[in-house]
Symmetry: C2
């Protein structure tokens, strides 16, 4: 018998199928099969749109990930309202999927709101697990020795890429737009953060992840992350109290550095135990499960010490990349990544509200002007990083600069916190959002053009999966 939900969530299913009988189960238990329905339907929409987007982008000679982002925008808050989240004043009645569930189950408004929130929470966590797996896969594909070779270059690129847009953005806003010092510093800080997720996906799709340029970009993005967390903490602290909390800044610098270096050093020891353990296991999942125990634990650790979960997953991938099991693991992780990573990209697109780009709405116009300025600084401030690389003749400097451009979701954190704390007014907030959306969407084609001059794109491996040959 296939009635195998688990108690009590499935009691709702039973209650639901007995239409003439008033509900016997508790209210929360009753929601559960409907939450599952909502999650399944949302996943179907996400997968359909991600495949349409990726295939369309490929046929137009764009990177597939750009297609997934655009597909997310189309099914999200900006257009079809299929995949939306309870934020920015959106409620269950705005969601097409919730309306479908409402029609199927005759739910009360309260129940629908609860189901909408639970379903959104599940999809959000799945998206976060998706980006954790993406960074784990990127860690697996990154060569630690090669990353060490470009370590100094990556550090220089990261530092310049944080300092240049921060300084130019803050100064420009104060001098050209007469913005007060604290909001100007906050907006300048919002220009600093590179989105490793989008850049590294595009690099992988171009077959450039292991090139010298790709390794510098990924390495710089990792260092950038550490710097970004520190900048955000410092700026938010400054904005709130008028002074900098030195102890916290030191804590963040030390913990982030210690975490990455510690993970890499411990990795040398852990490698051998990992292979020894995998060799002992005789049941299904003998490689996948130990690998994910490590990846998820490192992600938890990254989160627990107030860094980021994906920093831990990336470190776990770097460590396991050094083991003998890496080739099997590379193959086994692919279908898992294929299933979970698109949830991340589609939901990023789905959350981006393009209506702030509409110039016919008067209150958007002030933001648009500032946005044009911020866009210029955002692009120029990262482009220059390519030209600070030294001692590597023939390196593709434009590719490195372009690879650092996308700000992704990180800029949205700054906008969100700035807006919630009242530091940023509406035009500044909107212009940061516009800057984030455009850099995210423009960087993939730019990156393709930048690399196109020096290399032929390598077709990405598609299934059927062949056993990796050593």
């Amino acid at each position: 018998m296939i009635l195998s939900h688990i108690l009590p969530p499935f009691m709702g299913g039973i209650a639901a199928l007995m239409a003439p009988i008033p509900c016997l189960a508790t209210i929360v238990a009753e929601d559960s099969p409907i939450i599952l329905s909502g999650v399944l339907l949302t996943l179907v929409v996400i997968y359909l749109s991600s495949k349409f987007g990726a295939e369309a982008a490929r046929r137009l000679d764009f990177p597939p990930v750009l297609g997934e982002l655009v597909a997310g925008v189309i099914v999200g808050v900006s257009a079809l309202h299929l995949v939306i989240f309870p934020e920015g004043g959106l409620s269950a009645s705005d969601s097409v999927i919730m309306t479908v569930l409402q029609g199927l189950n005759q739910l009360t408004p309260d129940a629908l709101t609860r189901i909408f929130e639970s379903q959104s929470e599940v999809i959000s966590v799945l998206a976060e697990i998706g980006v954790i797996i993406l960074l784990f896969e990127i860690g697996l594909e990154s060569d630690l020795r090669q990353l060490k070779e470009v370590g100094i270059q990556a550090t220089v690129v990261a530092c310049v890429g944080v300092a240049a847009p921060f300084a130019a953005g803050t100064a420009g806003l104060m001098l050209l737009f007469h913005v007060a010092a604290i909001p100007a510093i906050f907006a300048g800080a919002a220009l600093t953060a590179t989105s490793i997720g989008i850049t590294s996906k595009v690099l992988a799709e171009l077959g450039q992840l292991k090139s010298k340029e790709g390794q510098i970009i990924v390495g710089a993005a990792v260092i950038d992350d550490v710097l970004g967390i520190i900048v955000l903490a410092v700026v938010a602290s400054l904005a709130k109290t008028g002074e900098i909390d030195v102890a916290n800044v030191i804590y963040l610098i030390v913990s982030a550095t210690a975490f990455l270096i510690g993970a890499i050093l411990l990795g040398g020891v852990f490698n051998k135990s990992f292979v020894a353990i995998v060799d002992q296991l005789k049941t299904r999942g003998n490689i996948v499960i130990p690998a994910f125990i490590f990846a998820f634990f490192m992600a938890f650790l990254g989160n627990a010490i107030h860094l980021e979960a994906i920093l831990g997953a990336f470190a776990a991938g770097l460590v396991l990349d050094e083991t003998d099991a890496r080739n099997e693991l590379d193959e086994l992780i692919k279908p898992i990544a294929d299933l979970l990573v698109p949830i991340f990209f589609v939901t990023v697109g789905a959350r981006a509200d393009l209506s702030v780009l509409n110039p016919t709405v008067p209150e958007n116009r002030a933001g648009l002007l500032i946005a044009v300025f911020l866009m210029g600084v955002a692009i120029a401030g990262k482009l220059v990083t390519g030209w600070v690389v030294f001692g590597l003749p023939g390196i593709n400097r434009a590719a490195i600069g372009v690879g650092m451009i996308p700000r992704g979701e990180v800029g949205l954190v700054f906008a969100g916190i700035g807006s919630a704390s009242g530091i940023l007014d509406k035009p500044l907030e909107v212009s940061i959002i516009i800057m984030v959306i455009l850099t995210t969407f423009l960087a993939p084609p730019f990156l393709r053009v930048a690399f196109g001059s020096s290399t032929e794109p390598i077709p990405e491996p598609i299934a059927p999966v062949k056993a990796a040959s050593e």
Copy 2:
């Protein structure tokens, strides 16, 4: 920069890392990174325990899935309280993982309760997706032509397996234990449902899923599911109103039958389009994503028409098994199943409260006596089904009978609804729970013994995955 959570969930992470600054984000957004931490830590515990359990079981010559269930019991509500759910009066303070998160983040009791509930919801949905993928994989591994060959046999087995324990259980409770008619009928109905999840996993582990016996068991379990849903609806309706809602009974019979037969018939048409679509796709996930779109949509459909999600997933697997892409798909789905299916089995074990088995607690004793009787009926009532199989000389009748024994979670639905509606008193409810736990735990070794006499266990395939050769 790797700060790539998505707005607003990650705002909490930022707020959390700025300890000296009061929270800037909303309350719900603030919880999100902690929910992610909880989910990651719970998954680490689930994977660690599932691997320990599976490997220990294998070394003791038991099926690995039994080890996963026992490991679930150990980490769950009965012992370590690592993986528990907000049910049966359990709160966040009972959960070891929540206590860890509390220690790391200095949460208020209210916030901790919210995080506990959200985290449990996410793990519950992941477990449900796990069993959906398990049934999809079982559908893929089931041979539709062979299943059609045993169709009549399976139908007979299912009908006898529902009727015999139902009649014997109800009569015995009324005559031997002087239970009133309606609770006796309810408890009798609780004896009818076979758990396909556990049986088919054990069959797969024994390499018997495609044997004639295995196909009869799986086929009967599917029909059993349809019968079980009808029996539950009828009995609950009877218990509530004193009469049977004929319209609903007819609706359930028609919709369940139409769903399965319709899916199989449509499958013949859909097969070719599926292969044609897959051939057109050039981006990563070209096989996995279309397959899961189909599986998740069918699961949604099963849920939406008030049947079961896993019935839809099983039908989807049956259909795709007929396509040319099946060999690649079989390989690609394995790591995905390895990652998600253990969540289901460990949480089933984790939710089972073994304290109702303790005979030193006086109120458990009445239940224990009835439980012994119900156990006898539960085993005998399914064992006889092996001997109603006709026209197949040399068939392993004991294996078929034993394969139908595990009641799994379904019996728990009956116990839960019966208790919530006041139909069942405490001893009857407890004895149903005991019956469910013991049949679930005893069937795997029994099944192994039953098959052991006729066949050698085939070692289950473990990674590294080799490319399937046609």
